[in-house]
Symmetry: C2
Subunit: 376 residues, 2 copies
């Protein structure tokens, strides 16, 4: 799998954004988050883990994007297709890019659109944002959802990267028997599963969740405890593994030493719900339609959590499969189907697969589970 | 190493914050980021990787913190010391916690302080932030740097966690010979080094950087390429590995098959600079004093990048060792000493260690390198 994209991929993204910006009357977009910057520039680094420096990409309504970034990133940015790279010595406690950014924005012209809708945030200090707004003398507004909408529909090249990440996780899931047995602490299973993902080709593993217990698990966001696996437990592992900046996000259940009828029934219901979701996931349908197809099978009410979501450069992005999200599905949208069922009063089981919406039946990106709950 | 903290740790943090809030005339703090929420609540999860849901902690000037969070987090938050937990079914495209948060803030009273200084950001959609401000009817301002200042001085319990993370990385660095040899692609070394960190006890590895080349490396933020190590290269690995939510952050250089005089000279200069930084790192000194002690040895000018930074719940936090940062060092501050030298026109070598400021000489948290550049 080739790393990166051809420049044509970025030119297409920019052209589509600029068409929408012209329609919305925007002079430029100001982008500040890892995913938004990378989407238009290809700038890929784990250095965002450090909160100390802001990074900016200015996308004018015509012409090429301008990177306004700390000088420590200049060499790496110069390896992307971006040619206009302006830097300052960050962190600067007095003027941390504020003047340079304001000057760049004045040159480009407003109104300036900033992503401000669902799932967005502004990755820079609020006080500096106010300073930039004032110093620019321009009109500021939201981005009218332009960036999120563009990012929600994936190109073929993006889909291949997500599929590749899914394959990596599939091979790691095939090896869970190597690391799980009665007596092994869940924290060790988590650690070892990350090792398997790396061995199978993941660049890194930003996300891992899971749980274990005789009747499912209490939630799917807790870190692993040192509690030991026991015969009769069901173990769930849910991973967001990354290859070249693109995520997979799916999970698997395993029974430890033996499975119970209750666990197997729950797993069958989850399979059925996943297939119903897959059948409903057609271009032109709504996110809420897919939710409903699964919700009727698992008995989820309208206020229950979402049963899936978009996926791509971030672990979750774009739409949510809930009763309230009526986003229309379009070819190229990559989504997860993630039904959950109650197993007892305070435990659940979940199952998750990844698909891409096409003109016809969805394409499976994860190798769908087809057998009953495997016993390790 | 015990996970989590005694409730007394959180009570102390809250009391110190509230004393500062009273001085600053704040009625409450609104916290939205992973680190700030965790600092006061102990809420630890990798679920923040998903940008889909905002999370809020309201810290009133008197009384206990209030969590205003998506219902998916209620079970995990209930395991912390926080008792007032208010939830909504997120993501909600119409009202994603806005009304619930505004109601909570009105109950608590303003003015509301929001972290807005260096390294901070607001982790919620800007449009929703404006809605909350309006709906609250309260006065809003910055937090006067209260949260960042508190977090920059670590308790003994926090320091032990960072020391534990440093020990894990130390054992992994001792094993780099197992994974590095001429002909091995750098991308595989990165993957395998993450595996070693996990085997040695890291919960996860949010950050890994590095580089390799005959005369150092071009920068320290690029992802690993598939270029193969060659005899005579110097390999650098820099990790932010996490145990129980606390980071180490240091690096090591290794010569592949043989070292050159130039590499050894650079490494000796880096050692000398690190020791000079350590000697200057005394309570009452300034960040800029420590920078100067190292800068004179490595020949860094005033506009060069920083030569170290604070460390803790985030890979980098608090002060920067630059000519411009005059933050006073205080006992309990954990910092990195990270000098860099030019090896050729466009390559560098770096070295990094972790220490904690005390009343006397700093305590070393990473086991300082003492020998010349090791040859693998």
């Amino acid at each position: 799998m080739r790393r990166g994209f051809h420049t044509s991929e970025y030119l297409g993204r920019v052209a589509r954004a600029q068409a929408e910006m012209a329609r919305a009357g925007l002079g430029a977009l100001l982008l500040t988050t890892e995913a938004d910057l990378r989407y238009f520039s290809g700038f890929l680094t784990r250095f965002w883990e450090s909160p100390s420096r802001p990074w900016f990409l200015v996308l004018p309504v015509t012409g090429a994007p301008i990177a306004v970034i700390p000088s420590i990133g200049a060499a790496l940015m110069a390896k992307t297709w971006i040619r206009d790279i302006r830097t300052w010595a960050a962190p600067d406690p007095v003027d941390d890019g504020v003047s340079l950014l304001a000057e760049t924005l004045r040159e480009v012209g407003g109104p300036i659109g900033v992503p401000d809708g669902p799932e967005s945030h502004l990755r820079m200090p609020l006080a500096d944002f106010e300073r930039v707004r004032l110093a620019s003398g321009l009109d500021w507004r939201g981005d009218a959802g332009i960036v999120a909408a563009l990012r929600s529909v994936k190109s073929e090249a993006e889909i291949e990267k997500i599929a590749f990440a899914c394959d990596i996780a599939g091979r790691a899931f095939d090896r869970v028997g190597e690391i799980s047995a009665p007596g092994i602490p869940l924290s060790r299973v988590f650690r070892e599963f990350q090792r398997l993902l790396l061995e199978e080709g993941a660049d890194w593993v930003p996300y891992l969740a899971g749980g274990a217990g005789p009747e499912g698990y209490s939630d799917v966001i807790s870190p692993a405890s040192d509690v030991r696996l026991a015969a009769g437990d069901v173990l769930m592992l849910d991973t967001g593994a990354v290859f070249d900046g693109y995520f997979c996000d799916y999970d698997r259940n395993f029974a430890i030493a033996r499975s119970t009828a209750r666990q197997r029934d729950a797993q069958m219901r989850l399979f059925d719900a996943t297939l119903a979701g897959e059948a409903a996931a057609r271009a032109g349908s709504r996110a809420s339609d897919v939710w409903r197809a699964m919700a009727t099978i698992v008995g989820a009410d309208e206020d229950a959590g979402r049963l899936g979501h978009g996926l791509g450069m971030q672990l979750t992005e774009g739409l949510s499969l809930t009763s309230r999200d009526h986003t229309m599905l379009r070819p190229g949208m990559v989504i997860t189907l993630e039904p959950g069922v109650s197993v007892s009063t305070d435990t659940i089981m979940v199952h998750e697969e990844n698909i891409v919406i096409t003109e016809g039946a969805p394409r499976r990106l994860s190798r769908f589970s087809e057998k009953p709950l495997p016993v390790l």
